[in-house]
């Protein structure tokens, strides 16, 4: 075991897997000599050579698209899209090509590739860097969407993503990169994709979150539990697509009260889908309307405004109280 930040855990996941399987390659902008703008790929080119870790031209569709073909022909590429807002640049290669190739070819081809991308509010980045666009990909069959919230999960989920035979979009929260250290095994291990994590059990309210919102929700929950003498269950989705509804339903059956937290805007977000499914299958269990604590429906705001725009501990507290007080 070693103490690792999330960025170290991510780096480590790629390293141990690349040692195991020489078909794994890394490609993207600045991932080679520079080791990535966040150093996620630091040292990989040195260790594995220029024929496995590539600084590519500045062209996201090219990055994802060449990886799609290589994956279909037996490689296992890990592509980096330098920031989450740039997925628009390669939307077709992600959604039409990577996500559909297995389906289109009746299973003849598969696309075992990972697209890593940093995202997440709070780091005061310029436009189009911090945006949370995961809902687009939840609405895109054929690609899995993963959100680690701890260094341990990051390593295990990334290894799972690398070994998965379907394309995985791997979202890395920027503020989480270096803010937490955790014991992380040095060898390879897998945190399964598609399985949510009950971070903390509770009886009165279910809070559903992912990425950095898990950490924030923990703080909010601690406050409400103290103030109200209730217990709150916290679910870290870990995977947005596919959604682990069993874990959610089990919790709703217990608590009957739900708060969904995400930093993406509200309309059409992940929360809407979760609430629709709870409505479909657990309406009689609900003691109150499900509450969404999200960003409002505007483009991502300028850096100095982001903290007022993103969900805050205070807003999550208010959301939990709202669902309690209904």
């Amino acid at each position: 075991m070693a103490m690792m930040t999330m960025i170290q855990a991510i780096n480590d996941a790629m390293r141990v897997e690349m040692e195991r399987d020489e078909n794994i390659i890394v490609l993207g902008e600045d991932v080679g000599v520079n080791g990535g703008v966040f150093r996620a790929t630091d040292g990989l080119q040195k260790q594995f050579g220029k024929d496995r870790v590539f600084d590519t031209p500045l062209a996201e569709s090219g990055i994802v698209g060449t990886a799609v073909a290589m994956a279909a022909l037996g490689m296992r590429p890990i592509a980096e899209v330098q920031f989450g807002g740039f997925v628009y640049e390669c939307m077709d290669q992600i959604c039409t090509q990577a996500a559909r190739l297995r389906f289109r070819t009746g299973g003849r081809f598969q696309v075992p590739m990972v697209i890593r991308t940093p995202y997440g509010g709070g780091a005061k980045t310029p436009e189009m860097h911090a945006d949370s666009f995961e809902a687009y990909f939840m609405h895109t069959p054929g690609i899995k969407v993963v959100f680690p919230s701890t260094p341990y999960d990051a390593k295990g989920l990334l290894i799972a993503a690398i070994r998965d035979n379907d394309p995985v979009l791997f979202y890395e929260n920027m503020p989480l990169y270096r803010s937490v250290r955790q014991e992380v095994p040095e060898e390879a291990y897998v945190v399964p994709i598609g399985k949510a994590n009950v971070v903390k059990e509770g009886a009165d309210v279910t809070v559903i979150a992912y990425g950095n919102m898990v950490r924030l929700s923990e703080q909010a929950i601690a406050q409400v539990e103290k103030e109200r003498g209730v217990t709150v269950e916290l679910i870290d989705l870990r995977t947005i697509s596919p959604l682990d509804m069993d874990t959610i339903f089990d919790s709703v059956d217990k608590t009957g009260r739900v708060v969904v937290v995400h930093e993406a805007i509200r309309t059409g977000g992940v929360g809407a889908e979760i609430i629709a499914r709870i409505n479909e299958e657990r309406i009689l269990k609900l003691e109150a309307p499900c509450v969404r604590v999200t960003a409002p429906d505007t483009p991502y705001p300028p850096a100095l405004v982001e903290d007022k725009w993103l969900p805050s501990k205070g807003r999550i507290v208010a959301g939990i109280k709202k669902v309690l007080d209904f």
């Binding site: 031209p57 569709s61 060449t66 073909a69 022909l73 299973g107 054929g142």
Partner: protein
């Protein structure tokens, strides 16, 4: 730029070898084989148009007029090489091994329509213009990385060269010294839009300069020029000397697709005639073979009969094959079906009664 990129022609429109040119070294057998395939495409095209009109086929993009491009290019490859076609390249795809019945399933939109047999090194036809150029760059890059002496060849049209993805594909390939051939069938139109409105560059070949790539312009209706040029490009690629952009000048004799396109709205009748009568790729090769004593009326009649029978067998087979069910298709979204999709699959099965 036309003098920097002159149009390479080996077989002229009369079926004669252009002065000073040397045709590729091909046995009589191979020559007849090439003709046989070009002729098969001609029959395939005519019959597919007919089947489409009868409502027995679905989406079909006629390839008549582009037979030399598709057969010349595919024939210059090995079976171990990979082809990344567009919707119009069913000819090259069949030559490379996709059965006629497969193309018909694809056209009609039946289950497995895009499931190309495992031993055929072919991607499914790309509908999204120019995306396949990036895939071909990726494949050619992979071959270099893995020291495999395969080549990736992709077909795309003149219109496709305007897409950003064309640019990204070619740039990647050149930087990565990908073992890729970018085969442009410049048929002068992107649906209704003529090349002059597509780009201000005089030729497509010169676009290679932007990538520090080799570019070459050829007569796409000349089977020898196509075969020879692709052979050379493949050799270069295999030797690790990088990708090539080939602009093959050709013409589609039919409409853009069978979904309501009417070429008389956008191109002059005289132009069509000129290409049909004067520059036809099949006719000119036939004249050449005839002069060599390798072609006869009877042989062609036999070929026609054979191909018609194959097509009729194929369409009948395909029409008898199952169309497919949604719940079956759901198996191909992921390798393993996630729990929530499985639940939907059950729901989908319950629709079978309800749907109408």
């Amino acid at each position: 730029m036309q003098n920097v990129f002159p149009m390479r022609q080996i077989l002229d429109t009369e079926g004669k070898i252009v002065e000073g040119q040397i045709p590729p070294e091909l046995s009589d057998e191979k020559l007849k084989h090439l003709y046989r395939w070009m002729f098969r495409l001609r029959v395939y095209d005519a019959l597919s148009i007919k089947l489409n009109r009868q409502g027995r086929l679905g989406f079909y993009a006629p390839l008549g007029g582009q037979e030399a491009c598709q057969i010349g290019a595919a024939a210059a490859l090995r079976k171990t090489d990979w082809i990344f076609p567009s919707y119009r390249d069913l000819g090259a795809s069949m030559y490379h091994g996709w059965p006629i019945a497969g193309t018909y399933k694809w056209s009609r939109g039946q289950i497995d329509g895009m499931k190309i047999p495992e031993d055929v090194n072919l991607f499914p036809p790309q509908i999204i213009i120019a995306q396949q150029t990036i895939h071909a760059a990726g494949a050619g890059w992979k071959f270099r990385l893995k020291n495999e002496d395969h080549v990736a060849l992709t077909f795309f049209g003149d219109g496709a060269t305007s897409e950003g993805d064309f640019h990204e594909g070619l740039n990647f390939a050149a930087v990565m010294k990908a073992q890729t051939i970018f085969f442009n069938q410049n048929n002068g139109y992107a649906i209704s839009v003529p090349l002059e409105q597509q780009t201000n560059s005089e030729t497509i070949a010169q676009k290679a300069i932007a990538y520090g790539m080799k570019g070459i312009r050829i007569d796409g209706n000349d089977i020898f020029a196509v075969y020879q040029t692709v052979s050379e490009a493949a050799e270069r690629a295999r030797r690790g000397e990088g990708p090539t952009l080939i602009e093959a000048i050709t013409y589609r004799l039919g409409p853009h697709s069978m979904s309501g396109d009417d070429p008389t709205r956008y191109r002059p009748q005289t132009e069509e005639e000129e290409w049909k009568e004067g520059k036809d790729p099949v006719k000119r090769f036939r004249l050449y073979l005839e002069a060599q004593g390798l072609w006869s009326q009877e042989w062609e009649a036999e070929l026609e009969k054979e191909m018609k029978a194959e097509i009729s067998a194929a369409i009948n087979e395909v029409q008898r094959a199952p169309i497919g069910e949604v719940d079956e298709l759901m198996e191909f979204v992921f390798e393993e079906m996630p729990a929530d999709l499985k639940k939907q699959q059950e729901e989908v099965r319950s629709w079978k009664g309800a749907a109408e």
